[in-house]
Symmetry: C2
Subunit: 195 residues, 2 copies
Amino acid sequence: MANKVKFERENVIRVASQLFWEKGFIATSTRDLQEAINMRPGSIYAAFGSKEGLYSESLKDYTVQMKSQIDGFLASSDTVVGGLRAFVENVIIKTKDCSPSAICMLVKANSEFAEKDASLYELSLDLSAKFEAYLTTLFAQAIKNNELSSNLTALEYAQFFQVQFTGLRGYFNRPRVEQLAQPMINQMFALIKKL
Amino acid sequence: MANKVKFERENVIRVASQLFWEKGFIATSTRDLQEAINMRPGSIYAAFGSKEGLYSESLKDYTVQMKSQIDGFLASSDTVVGGLRAFVENVIIKTKDCSPSAICMLVKANSEFAEKDASLYELSLDLSAKFEAYLTTLFAQAIKNNELSSNLTALEYAQFFQVQFTGLRGYFNRPRVEQLAQPMINQMFALIKKL
DNA sequence: TTTGATTTTGAGCGACTGTTCAAGTTAAAA
DNA sequence: TTTTAACTTGAACAGTCGCTCAAAATCAAA
């Protein structure tokens, strides 16, 4: 009995995610989405309930992708800090031009849904908190490995990392000579080791 | 002969600026604006040409306000770095709750107008460049006064400042115990003096 | 007071928005 | 092959968007 679904859910979410990341939630119309993911309104609403539902899935998927990207760099690096550094270089320098936006999708979400009661605002806060917790475990490992001093707690290192990383991405959102990026990343990691 | 304009142009722009800063360009409807600035469509379009025209004026006014705010703190401080510090503390801690957004309006604009040919994108880039140039003159003065070493150029200090400041504002956009803000600002300025 | 250029008003235009749903299509079960 | 539940389609809805413009209101000059 029944028919099978034609679309591949994961792939659809990933494509939608790119579009939402680039244009933001409000500026992405359902017609834009229809074309990008090749689905008609009825199917989209049957599968995701609403534009908000699809965005919600997209934002969650984004954080999963980010974490798995970091895990990949950690796996091919001797140290935790080295892995994070490779990740930062990859985001700011190497994948800058093929990325929908220089700015983290979570940061964009946090600034778009400023109205404090919206459910997408709650979601973006929740995902941000979980990402910080994930980073904290990484820095805890780095301290344990004696890569970093224990002058700061793992959480404080994670906070410092986020401030630096967000700041750099915001700065290199504006077009600049890319020669500036590498020295500023070097500076960031030199500072981390001196904290 | 003729009639006089009823509205005060500067005041109208300032109110519109607050609304645009909070909600973004796209999410702010012309009806929202009509209510906020108490003008009917015909008057708005006679005075500013379009929604884009009013936003453009609002963004320019925002940077003027920021600069004059910094100048104010500089005037009541012994040192350039002290003035900048007072400014940062004012933005992140003191005026956090009465500000339309924790995130700089220019940064929001830069991330909203990602399509590279739009005129508002060009404007936000131009204003960002001018603001960086302004900061650079301040740091040049700080170096001249021996407040800061000359290991870095004035431009490099300005870049560092912007990365830190943008990063901190992005971080404290998410709700957190405000006790975290002051130590992180202290850290920022401790780092600047050690560069 | 009359004149007439200027400003303000707000109903309304065409385009676009997120979403719905009846009709059509599909394929596993009978 | 027939049945039937699940899935897909796309026309269409009610609402909102940025914006226009004829008409009303305003006030300095004559």
